[in-house]
């Protein structure tokens, strides 16, 4: 009896996703923003992986028609990283423009990327300025009058 169980155990390959961080990363790369946020709450390992900025970079530019030039990455990293870029600029811009009647496509244009980056830069600067309030991008969070 015990022999049978041991055999069965040997036959079934044990696959535990947490043992394979690279596969996990590949899977998480394909999630959308909210799902990625949820995934980060699962366990410590997932949280650490989800914090990986390259995941968010993938998320930010997934919809871009052509991949952004290599000079973008250092700039974005200097200004706060892709996760912040996504949270502060990309997500609101996508949702806002997605709802507008003019834009119904899922693919970004370079102009939209450029605009997001500019706004991101302004956000960075404003945070450094301090003073009144660092809410230059608050307008992105306000509801749109339909």
């Amino acid at each position: 009896m015990q022999q049978k169980k041991a055999e069965e155990k040997e036959k079934k390959p044990k696959f535990f996703i947490n043992d394979h961080a690279d596969i996990l990363t590949e899977i998480l790369k394909r999630l959308d923003g909210p799902s990625l946020g949820v995934a980060a709450c699962v366990c410590r390992l997932w949280c650490a992986i989800a914090r990986n900025d390259s995941l968010w970079e993938h998320l930010c530019f997934r919809h871009v028609a052509s991949p952004p030039p290599s000079s973008v990455r250092p700039v974005v990293l200097a200004l706060g990283g892709y996760k912040r870029l996504y949270m502060v600029c990309v997500r609101p811009v996508l949702t806002r423009l997605g709802h507008s009647d003019l834009v119904r496509r899922r693919v970004w244009t370079r102009d939209e990327v450029q605009l997001s980056l500019s706004l991101f830069c302004v956000d960075y600067y404003e945070r450094r300025l301090g003073g009144a309030s660092a809410s230059s991008l608050m307008f992105l969070c306000k509801p749109v009058n339909v």
Binding site: S71, V75, L79, R96, L97, D111, Y125, P143, N145
Partner: protein
């Protein structure tokens, strides 16, 4: 029959324009006057036939009076929340008597209604030129766009000035004074001044003479009112009447009117009430000569502008479009130099630095010269800003140099101060966002600055200005234009959908309120908010030998996208106008971005 009507108000209630005689207005004015004459001949006792058909009995001679009372009644009913229900009103077909009975009822309960009932509602009196001039004891000019007004003279206009009543609000046009159709104007003209026949007249109501005969005080362009309700229109009219009184130096009347505006504005919700409040305050300052201290605090106004930057897209639009033009002009340069005429907090430059960093081919060396006013506490605000920008540039890998210049006026800056190298070593851009118009306050300043700009040999000059003419010679014109302009601005800010308004919104409104105060209350060198339209700036730049540089489609796209992101984005409009971009709210254009370069010598 009409015993109750004891006092014959000597004003024409033009509000009845729709009753009966309206359809006759399409004929020429002389034709109308003739018809009027015929009715005169028919005798004062004759009933108005048209109304009689409807079942109302009104004497033709009393038409004006009845109309005015109807207007009063409407006003009174509008302001009281309840109508007394005890009294029995007899004979409503006797319009005059019925209205009078309603009015006496409404007048009695609330004493403060008197203010609104009595003199306010008396409309213009019109002199019918066909009556012998001796008959009418008072005349006034009415309306603005009917050329017949020119024949009317103002007599005995000094009487109204002697009235010591604080509530002499007779100058306020009644609700009939909508500058809408020619029809109504002509109607007013036909009203008889019944003063000739009546003996027991109160001092005739007089209007101060309106604008210099011949000039059209009321804008001939369509009047776009923000609030179409009754009180909103009344508010606008009261403001305009007050401004007119100020224009004519009738300060007592203006004072009474401005107080009335405050009352009306307090009850008006929304953008219109706020705008009216600011304009009323500005008018009060002008009347009492309490001019605001312009140099109160530079950092305060910078802070206000920061709120304005955050809550609405105007400054962002300005920055993004100007940056795009500069970026395109700097496409191939390896060293670039931007001269900013109004650095403030430098909010424009992070985006440009970032765009330069991502430029294909790598970033150029970026030099920024910022000009700003002296700070009252002698802190070097410019250097602080420069330092922060340097940190940003360092973080993203752009070579950056900064120099700040403190100057009271742009005219004090000499090109030689700026350390400009020879033309081929660096590309120069001059940037002015809402700065150049201030120079128009001092004669000669703008020309000096424009020639200084040329001496800097810029590759491009970006100019962003308010799209409005707030620099006309006539105060009333400026006032009217400003009222419409800031109404649109406030209206656009109202669309953010936040109730109650946040601090940000309030601060932004205060930012605009200071501009309003300057446009209305200041004069001479203090009045620095001398906005001019794009057309006027084009002429100015052209005659200073600048030729336009067209803003490309990239700028247009960026601007459109930016606006689509804003809450209430439906109302904003970007339009292209001969290579310049304009941002507007619905149909009203508000700011304009244009780009220039020194004219190339091609002779």
């Amino acid at each position: 029959m009409n015993n109750k009507r004891s006092h014959q108000e000597s004003a024409g209630g033009a509000g009845y324009g729709g009753i009966g005689k309206g359809h006759e207005c399409s004929s020429t004015s002389s034709g109308k006057a003739k018809m009027w004459d015929e009715e005169q001949d028919a005798g004062g006792g004759g009933m108005d036939e048209l109304l009689e058909v409807l079942g109302y009995k009104v004497k033709s001679s009393e038409m004006a009076d009845v109309a005015e009372k109807l207007e009063q009644l409407e006003m009174a009913m509008g302001t009281t929340l309840h109508l007394p229900g005890d009294t029995v009103h007899f004979n409503p077909s006797d319009l005059s008597g019925w209205v009078q009975s309603m009015l006496t009822e409404l007048n009695n309960p609330a004493a403060n209604l008197d203010i609104l009932d009595h003199p306010v509602l008396q409309s213009h009196r019109v002199d019918d030129p066909l009556l012998a001039p001796a008959e009418s004891s008072s005349v006034s000019t009415v309306g603005f766009s009917n050329s017949r007004q020119q024949q009317i003279e103002t007599t005995q206009s000094s009487r109204v000035y002697n009235d010591d009543s604080e509530y002499d609000l007779r100058a306020i046009p009644g609700s009939a004074a909508y500058p809408q159709t020619q029809e109504k104007e002509s109607n007013r003209k036909r009203l008889k001044t019944s003063s000739g026949s009546s003996n027991s007249l109160p001092p005739p109501t007089l209007l101060p003479s309106s604008q210099p005969i011949g000039t059209v005080a009321e804008p001939t362009r369509p009047v776009i009112l923000v609030d179409s309700q009754e009180t909103g229109v009344r508010l606008v009219h009261t403001l305009l009447a007050c401004a007119e009184a100020v224009q004519q130096d009738n300060l007592k009347l203006a004072d009474a009117l401005v107080k009335h505006v405050h009352v009306l504005a307090a009850s008006q919700a929304g953008a219109m009430g706020k705008v009216a409040g600011y304009f009323a305050e500005a008018l009060a300052r002008r009347i009492y000569r309490i001019y605001p201290q312009d140099s109160l605090s530079v950092s305060y106004s910078d802070m206000l502008q920061r709120y304005f930057y955050e809550t609405c897209p105007y400054l962002k639009f300005a920055h993004f479009t100007a940056n795009q033009a500069i970026l395109e002009a700097f496409a191939t340069a390896s060293r670039v130099h931007v001269i900013d005429f109004g650095l403030k907090e430098g909010m424009q430059w992070p985006a440009l630095i970032q765009a330069l960093a991502l430029r294909p081919g790598g970033p150029p060396a970026f030099r920024l010269t910022g000009i700003g006013p002296p700070q009252p506490d002698n802190t070097d605000a410019l250097q602080q800003v420069g330092w922060k920008l340097a940190q940003l540039a360092d973080a993203i890998g752009v070579e950056f140099h900064f120099r700040g210049f403190v100057a009271n006026s742009l005219a004090d800056i000499e090109p030689s101060m700026l350390d400009l190298g020879p033309a081929d070593t660096e590309a120069v851009a001059v940037n002015s966002v809402f700065e150049l118009h201030r120079l128009l306050a001092r004669p000669g300043a703008i020309d000096k600055v424009l020639s200084s700009i040329k001496a800097m040999r810029p590759k491009i000059v970006t100019l962003v200005e308010q799209e409005a003419n707030h620099n006309g010679p006539v105060f009333l014109d400026r006032f009217t234009e400003a009222l419409h302009y800031y109404s649109s601005l406030f209206d656009s800010m109202e669309g953010s959908g936040l109730v109650p308004p946040t601090d940000d919104q309030l601060m932004s409104e205060m930012y605009l309120g200071r501009q309003i105060c300057n446009v209305v209350a200041s004069e001479g060198a203090d009045r620095v908010e001398r906005h001019e339209t794009l057309t006027q700036w084009r002429a100015r730049m052209g005659s200073a030998s600048f030729e336009p540089v067209h803003l490309g489609s990239n700028a247009f796209k960026q601007a459109s996208m930016l606006l689509a992101l804003f809450a209430g984005g439906d109302g904003y409009r970007v339009e292209e106008n001969n290579g310049c971009l304009m941002l507007g709210w619905h149909t009203r254009r508000l700011i304009a971005t244009s780009a220039w370069q020194p004219a190339t010598e091609s002779h």
